[in-house]
């Protein structure tokens, strides 16, 4: 049973009932992914069904090596499923051309990684600008939106700092601002608190948990940190490539 401790008495079911208009954003239908080596075949992801609705916060738990990261790569269109389908807003990712796949990642998705994945030589503001500039947004607009996005994560005073002058928690907040700046539909966070201490990690979790409410983005939190579950609408567990829902 997933317990919520935010003073809100909604249950998991109630959450979905409360937003009857929320439609499935992402649907995985018996998705499989194998890696083959000379001697053996590893089923990284096996027959996974999963759906994420708009503005939903889904926590995906599981030990390392359980296939969580492979699943994220499949959702991001960075890996192609061997079987089954991954659909985003009703479209099968397998039908995307290469440039459509790129556009999908750039406009619909935001990424947050354990190691922040920031450009070392660039300031916080420039780092946040990058996805916009790559999309062709003019400089002035890109910088304005980056500033706004950094303000939303509480870093309006760190605009010109390069990553080496930011703390771990600040770096992760820059990464979240970068994930947000393109107004994505879905944010994929891979062990986002993995290199942060408990307190900083909690603050980052709070920030991620607020994204559906404040920015209308759905979030998939891949983690082995059980604390993430208290913010989640649903908790899924991955084990040996198979997915199950924790009740």
């Amino acid at each position: 049973m997933v317990e919520r401790d935010d003073g809100d008495a909604r249950t998991v079911t109630a959450t979905t009932l409360e937003r009857p208009q929320a439609r499935a954003l992402l649907e995985l239908d018996s998705v499989s992914k194998r890696y083959e080596s000379v001697s053996e075949t590893i089923h990284a992801v096996e027959d996974v069904d999963m759906s994420v609705r708009e503005r939903e916060l889904v926590a995906l738990l599981g030990p390392s090596g359980s296939g969580k990261t492979t699943l994220l790569l499949l959702i991001a269109g960075l890996l192609r499923a061997d079987g089954g389908s991954v659909r985003f807003e009703g479209r099968d990712l397998a039908s995307f051309t290469k440039s459509e796949a790129l556009a999908y990642r750039r406009t619909k998705l935001g990424f947050v990684f354990q190691d922040f994945n920031l450009s070392a030589g660039l300031s916080a503001q420039e780092n946040v600008c990058v996805p916009l500039l790559l999309r062709g947004v003019p400089h002035g607009e890109a910088h304005g939106r980056a500033r706004a996005s950094l303000a939303q994560v509480g870093l309006e005073r760190r605009l010109t700092h390069t990553p080496d002058r930011l703390s771990g928690g600040e770096k992760q907040r820059v990464a979240i601002a970068r994930a947000l700046v393109g107004e994505p539909k879905l944010i994929l966070a891979d062990e986002a608190t993995g290199s942060l201490d408990t307190e900083t990690g909690d603050a980052v979790l709070e920030l991620l948990a607020a994204l559906p409410r404040e920015h209308g983005a759905a979030v998939v939190l891949v983690t082995h940190d059980i604390r993430a579950t208290r913010h989640a609408d649903r908790v899924l567990q991955m084990r040996d490539g198979r997915l199950s829902e924790l009740q």
Binding site: L78, F111, S119, C129, V130, L133, L134
Partner: protein, 245 residues
């Protein structure tokens, strides 16, 4: 000389007496490839950080193009790194999710270049660095040798006067080392760029001249012996009259 480091010293962060760099003097002129090799921890990266204006020496002078780099404001040093001093940090992990072309044009994009101009220049640099074939691949998909050539291409998009490269050819096969070093040699000769490059071993520094050995924070003087140790004279030991055992 475009870059001149004069008697640079830097203490280790955790120690009052131990030195990361100890009285290092070196110069790099346009058209020259200077190689510095040494084990990890010998101070190579710190040396390049100081040359790039990313770190300040405790003592000594850093001159770039006739001005004291160590006395410029951080904004001015940043401006130089955006326009004239390019850095390649060989061991940095790749930024995931970006295509090679995105990565290479990034420096131009954040420097307010037009997007089409940025990608044209990025493609040109990739071609010149023999990495155009991986333009559409993602950074994490390409080989180590390609990665280093991509990093050099990225550095070249700003058309720098000085290129600082931290171990770009280490851990590569000899053929890839050769490719990279030949590229840098051509770059120095034809583009009149000053190149300062480090490596874990001298083997990787094919074509660099001079090749300097950095050990314990000092450049080992090729023309003389190291100062510092005093010669211990052999103690006159008494002859023993009897055998033991």
């Amino acid at each position: 000389m475009l870059l001149s480091l004069q008697a640079i010293s830097k203490r280790r962060d955790d120690s009052a007496t131990r030195m990361t760099l100890d009285d290092v003097t070196l110069q790099v002129g346009r058209g020259q490839v200077v190689g510095v090799f040494g084990r990890s921890g010998s101070g190579k990266t710190t040396l390049l950080q100081i040359a790039a204006g990313l770190a300040a020496p405790d003592s000594g002078a850093v001159s770039y193009d006739g001005q004291r780099l160590d006395r410029l404001s951080s904004t001015e040093r940043l401006r130089l790194r955006r326009r004239e001093i390019a850095c390649v940090w060989g061991s940095r992990p790749p930024q995931r999710g970006l295509s090679v072309l995105d990565h290479v044009q990034l420096a131009l994009l954040v420097d307010h270049r037009d997007r089409r101009d940025a990608s044209r220049r990025a493609r040109e640099a990739l071609l010149a660095c023999e990495a155009e074939h991986c333009e559409r691949a993602r950074l994490e998909e390409i080989s180590d040798g390609e990665r280093q050539r991509v990093e050099i291409a990225r550095a070249l998009t700003i058309e720098p006067k000085l290129l600082l490269a931290d171990s770009p050819a280490s851990n590569l096969s000899i053929v890839e080392q050769e490719t990279i070093m030949r590229l840098l040699a051509t770059l120095a000769r034809d583009a009149k760029v000053a190149v300062l490059i480090t490596a874990g071993d001298a083997q990787a520094l094919i074509g660099a001249d001079p090749v300097l050995y950095l050990s314990g924070g000092r450049i080992v003087d090729p023309h003389g012996t190291r100062q510092g140790g005093t010669l211990h004279r052999f103690p006159g030991r008494a002859r023993l009259a009897a055998a033991d055992g």
